[in-house]
Amino acid sequence: MKAIIKKELSGYFRSPVGYVFCGVYIFFSAMYFNAVLSGGSSSDYPEIYYGMLNIILILLPVLTMRLFSEERKNKTDQVLLTSPVSIFSIVMGKFLSAFMVYGGCILFTLLYALVFSYFATPPWALIAGNMVGAAVFGAAFISVGMFISSLTESQIISAICTFAVATIFIILDVIPMITTNPLIVSVVQWVSFVGRYTPFTIGLLDFSSLIFFLSVTATFIFTTISVLERRRWS
């Protein structure tokens, strides 16, 4: 698994993908931070993370599109699948490498807290809650993107489909505003990624949301393993 993580991480930064992802993330998070600074209230601080949610949904497909599609297209999956490494290790290695790039960007936002501490006391509990929320939210979405990448040889199709799923997640939160059907509203609220993230923005470590995101992550990791396993048997 270590070899795969190392290879994937260097792969991100051997191509423009890693730089584009980190650059865009830092650019937008800095914009939100600037807005928080202009507002002058520490209670606005979570806006950085909350505002970044939609950006992440658009940005993460760039990170996940190549995970398996590129390997299949270049037939380099042969070297992975014929090596003495389990499919679980291959999938986890790829997942963790994408998560590390994303996690690095989240950690970068700690710099903003340090800058903020120059003017006022940063709301550490809120920051910690938001960082944990952003991490599990991203992990879940990376696993979805990785699963989609395992289904196709085309990176473009993989990115578009992941982006489409992201759009559905965003649209889902609009549904409760246009319907009063309690069943639909409760189902949407239950599966809404953004809705599930909201408790973290107020510094709450909501266990049901935490478990939801971790369950989604685990489900899609194991579905990806099943896809690769099934392809061998088909």
């Binding site: 260097s10 792969g11 037939k75 042969q78 090596s83």
Partner: protein
């Protein structure tokens, strides 16, 4: 115990039976040629042996480990070069081989081992170059180098010389021959001369079935039902032909046309165990038709291949 043991291998793609009940074994140090026309099931069989895909039925054992029951141990015994070398174009040769070294969990001293592999595959000069900038020949060599990393006892090479120029083909073949001293090798190809040059044994596949498994010498014997004699005789073609055909023990005479001015070439196929050379000599002397050449001829591998895979 055989290094590679394949028993009753079948592979179905939906309703298409790509591999039909194939069984064979390869002993330590053997170089076995996998021969067959396109679509014969060579690559599918190799993919099953290496664990890239699973068989529908049957079993594969590498060095005593079943590829489905103990995949990690079985795969650790194999170095595989697929038809298209699985290379990462944005890596340098060194980075790529280091990745393979780590992927295989190799315990040999890293620097020395990678240098040794590079020297064996002849890629020392391009170690620091990006793979995407390498020629087809060098990419093929890097593919072979990755198969050699961790010094696996079994090498499976799927068409290793495809797309190479004649000089590179000769180099790769001599490399494979050299590797055969330390490794058990299965080599897939449809270049027949390659099999003749490199392999100790040939396994011929046709339409997913194993149609022959023998040394090239034995294959010649099994396919031809008699001996063959090639002669060049100066004289009237038609009369020579009739006279040759009339000899007791001759089952077939094939005209090869005029080899030189007034000299005609024939292939005489005799019944098994019949030596007609003296009779041919005496008859031609009696007619005063000079024999300019007489040599035993064998069916070449192309003929055998055509006979087996029709």
């Amino acid at each position: 115990m055989a290094t590679i043991e394949v028993r009753g291998l079948c592979k179905w793609y939906g309703s298409i039976n790509a591999v039909k009940d194939i069984s064979f074994s390869v002993d330590e140090g053997e170089i076995v040629g996998f021969l067959g026309p396109n679509g014969a099931g060579k690559t599918t069989t190799m993919n099953i042996i290496t664990g890239y895909i699973s068989s529908s039925e049957g079993s594969v054992t590498i060095g005593g480990y079943n590829i489905l029951e103990q995949p990690s141990r079985a795969k650790a015994q194999i170095g595989y070069l697929p038809e298209n070398p699985p290379l990462y174009p944005d890596m340098t040769v060194d980075e790529y081989l280091s990745f393979i070294y780590e992927l295989k969990g190799c315990l040999l001293p890293k620097e020395e081992h990678i240098s040794e592999v590079c020297s064996l595959a002849g890629v020392e000069k391009v170690r620091r170059r990006l793979i995407k900038n390498l020629s087809k020949g060098y990419r093929q060599r890097v593919g072979i180098a990755q198969a050699l990393v961790c010094s696996p006892p079994v090498l499976i090479l799927d068409e290793p010389t495809v797309g190479l120029d004649p000089n590179q083909i000769v180099e790769i073949r001599s490399l494979i021959k050299k590797l055969g001293e330390k490794h058990t090798i299965i080599l897939s190809t449809h270049i027949l001369s390659e099999v003749q040059t490199v392999c100790d044994r040939v396994i011929v596949l046709s339409r997913g079935q194993l149609v022959a498994d023998n040394t090239t010498k034995e294959l010649h014997k099994s396919v031809s039902d008699g001996e063959s004699l090639n002669v060049r005789i100066a004289g009237p073609e038609r009369q020579i032909y009739d006279l040759l055909l009339s000899i007791d023990g001759v089952s077939k005479v094939q005209r090869r046309g005029e080899a030189e001015k007034g000299v005609f070439e024939f292939d005489i196929v005799t019944k098994l165990g019949k030596d007609v050379r003296r009779k041919v000599f005496n008859l031609m002397c009696a007619k005063n038709w000079a024999i300019l050449q007489m040599k035993p001829s064998q069916l070449d591998l192309e003929d055998i291949f055509a006979t087996l895979t029709v």
